[in-house]
């Protein structure tokens, strides 16, 4: 699964802010850290503000502060503000003869969607921050050097 840009930016911002709930940060500070467009991030932060996940702090030295409950807000709660995950869409199978292959494929893909939805709903922001602190990707990288080399070759 690949997240759209705005969704990834929203997750960076929300998690950065949730990591230090009292502290306010500007769009520029966060954008600089991730090397992303401050203009785009500012727009995303406004959307997050409208959804009540962050508070805008006005005035000199203003910025944004986390306003949610990190133990209850899940990755899905953030993602669904910016994109449709198909697990949510629940498209009906179009009626009609000779559509069995399409229906069968949709049936198999729905399996994946259900998995994606359950995973994203089970990981709260605080669980995500704990995961980041553990850096589990490092031990995965040790197990799969071949895969990494392959990916690096493809990237070249």
């Amino acid at each position: 699964m690949k997240l759209q840009k705005a969704t990834a930016f929203a997750l960076y911002a929300v998690l950065e802010l949730a990591a230090e709930p009292g502290r306010q940060r500007t769009a520029v500070e966060i954008a600089d850290k991730y090397g992303i467009s401050a203009h785009h991030l500012a727009k995303v932060l406004r959307d997050l503000g409208r959804a009540g996940l962050v508070d805008a702090v006005r005035g000199v030295g203003g910025g944004y502060r986390f306003a949610g409950n990190a133990k209850r807000l899940t990755l899905m709660d953030v993602i669904r503000l910016f994109e449709e995950t198909s697990a949510e869409a629940d498209e009906p199978v179009p009626p009609g003869e000779d559509q069995d292959i399409a229906a069968g494929l949709r049936f198999v893909l729905a399996e994946l969607d259900a998995q994606i939805g359950a995973t994203l709903r089970s990981i709260s922001l605080s669980t995500m921050l704990k995961l980041v602190a553990r850096r589990p990707w490092e031990s995965v990288a040790e197990i799969k050097p071949a895969r990494r080399a392959q990916a690096a070759r493809r990237a070249r």
Binding site: Q115, R121, K130, L131
Partner: protein, 160 residues
């Protein structure tokens, strides 16, 4: 215990609740707690489970409880499973429950930590479990403990 006569505050921790292996005297309390949580009274099921997990092979099977025999506040059940589907021996957790009034104050985490310590002492390196996809609370709980998807996929079909 005076502590229980007042409504617990969210700040209060349950660090004074001892986690220990279940005895036969605890089974009635487990049955009552399960009935409170699930709304189903299943005495036979829990007695058999205790027979299997609490009474035999106690170096490999763990039935841990918190609370007094008459009043169980939480429990967790697990066992070491060896070479299932080619996997090296690993710990399996297949039941955990905390009294609703005492939830979100760390008891579930302590029960899980206690069973992990038993698994480690039994010489295994991993702990596994299975959750219902639509049970968000139990899924979020195990995720918060650091669990991730494992290398197995659960499959099933209807027998007709």
């Amino acid at each position: 215990m005076a502590r229980r006569s007042t409504t617990p505050t969210p700040q209060e921790s349950d660090e004074d609740l001892i986690i220990r292996s279940a005895t036969l005297a605890d089974v009635a309390g487990v049955i009552a707690l399960d009935e409170e949580v699930t709304g189903l009274l299943k005495p036979q099921y829990w007695r058999e489970l205790f027979e299997h997990f609490g009474a035999r092979r106690r170096d490999q099977r763990f039935f841990l409880v918190a609370g007094d025999p008459g009043r169980i506040d939480g429990f967790i059940i697990g066992e070491v499973r060896a070479w299932e589907f080619g996997s090296p021996p690993s710990g399996w957790v297949f039941a955990v429950q905390v009294r609703p009034r005492l939830r979100v104050r760390g008891l579930g985490s302590r029960l899980f930590a206690a069973v992990r310590a038993r698994f480690r002492a039994a010489g295994v390196e991993r702990v596994r479990t299975m959750v219902a996809r639509d049970n968000a609370v139990i899924h979020a709980f195990f995720r918060s403990q650091g669990m991730m998807a494992g290398p197995f996929i659960e499959l099933e079909m209807r027998l007709d």
